[in-house]
């Protein structure tokens, strides 16, 4: 999780990723942020996210992003 939080903070240092739980629904992350996160996750965790996995639910919190990574790594 620390590695993920480091990546997320690198992309949006102004966001409290430890506590926010509606990052996409609340408009805190926009589509450019999501695309940037996807690209960084590919580099850092070796996971590729398909277009049908671009569900906002998967990006609403650091925990949901982590869950998506874990799912894709299996």
């Amino acid at each position: 999780m620390d590695k993920l939080l480091g990546i997320l903070k690198g992309i949006r240092p102004d966001v409290d990723f430890e506590n926010e739980t509606s990052l996409v629904d609340d408009g805190i992350l926009d589509s450019f942020d999501v695309v940037s996160i996807i690209s960084e996750l590919d580099d850092a965790f070796g996971v590729q996210i398909r277009i049908d996995e671009l569900d906002p639910e998967n990006f609403n919190s650091a925990a949901s992003i982590m869950a998506l990574i874990e799912k894709l790594k299996k």
């Binding site: 690198g10 992309i11 949006r12 240092p13 102004d14 509606s22 996409v24 629904d25 609340d26 408009g27 805190i28 926009d30 589509s31 450019f32 999501v34 695309v35 940037s36 590919d42 590729q48 398909r50 277009i51 049908d52 671009l54 906002p56």
Partner: protein
């Protein structure tokens, strides 16, 4: 060129062209549904590359997936604009820029995104010389739209057509600043995405500049849309517009590292 008729058709095309290492500027995502229903999204498929074209009030906005730098994507026979979004920390994607220039695009504007939270904002209290309120009449919206449309580059920015006047009025998306006698001083256009309020346009009438009207409008916008100290506000501003940047910084906005370079290609140059 073919029209995209469903979200699944768009997704199928993206699946076909999006590979590891693909250069892309497709940030449409949630917008695709409305663009499909409005009949505004088209696709130009090549062997390795694909371009989506979104028809706007003026010209077309281009989104692409490029896998082969030697294969030129086809573009609509229309004025076109394309945005290269990047993070300052990562630098401008030079290869994509060169590719777009090779298609005939020319560099236009650099804009930076600035953000603020209510708790960090310094805003002005209301005072009698400048009265700010939501637009009340279609005539107010028309006056504001005309000011915005002549103050900003319409191809790169958000041109406001007459069809939008009604929704903007109903949505209370336009603030108007007036003097004590009701004279028009300026306007602000905003929209809400989730809990973030975005400033789309801010312009002050030519004869009212230098009087703090911009800050009055921003102050009203922030206080009217603040739910708590953590309410977020965002805007894009042209990098060369030092006056506007100075205003936003004085309120508490900071550049969040996101930048966009717009490139345009005019119709008569499409050959």
């Amino acid at each position: 060129m073919r029209q995209i008729l469903s979200i699944s058709q768009y997704q199928e095309i993206v699946r076909r062209y999006k590979k590891q290492g693909t250069a892309a500027n497709d940030y449409l995502q949630n917008e695709v549904g409305s663009l499909v229903s409005e009949g505004r999204i088209y696709c130009f498929e090549g062997e390795a590359n694909v371009a989506f074209s979104v028809k706007g009030g003026i010209g077309s906005r281009i989104y692409y997936y490029v896998n082969d730098w030697d294969e030129k994507i086809r573009l609509p026979d229309d004025d076109c604009v394309v945005e290269l979004l990047y993070r300052e920390s990562c630098g401008l994607p030079e290869k994509e820029l060169l590719y777009l220039l090779s298609l005939g695009f020319e560099k236009n504007l650099i804009r930076d995104q600035y953000c603020a939270m209510t708790g960090n904002c310094s805003i002005l209290a209301e005072e009698g010389k400048c009265i700010v309120d939501n637009a009340q009449l279609i005539e107010d919206i028309k006056k504001a739209a005309e000011l915005f449309n002549r103050s900003f580059d319409n191809l790169s920015g958000c041109y406001i057509g007459e069809a939008e006047y009604g929704p903007l009025l109903a949505g209370k998306c336009i603030l108007i600043a007036r003097d004590a006698g009701g004279g028009f001083l300026g306007a602000l256009h905003h929209s809400k995405n989730g809990r973030v309020s975005n400033l789309i346009h801010l312009a002050v009438a030519e004869n009212a500049r230098g009087m703090g009207i911009g800050k009055r409008l921003c102050s009203y916008w922030i206080s009217a849309n603040s739910e708590d100290a953590k309410t977020r506000f965002a805007l894009w501003v042209q990098r060369q517009n030092e006056r506007a940047i100075s205003l936003y910084k004085s309120i508490g906005f900071v550049h969040n590292g996101k930048t966009t370079l717009s490139l345009i290609k005019r119709k008569n140059e499409n050959g």
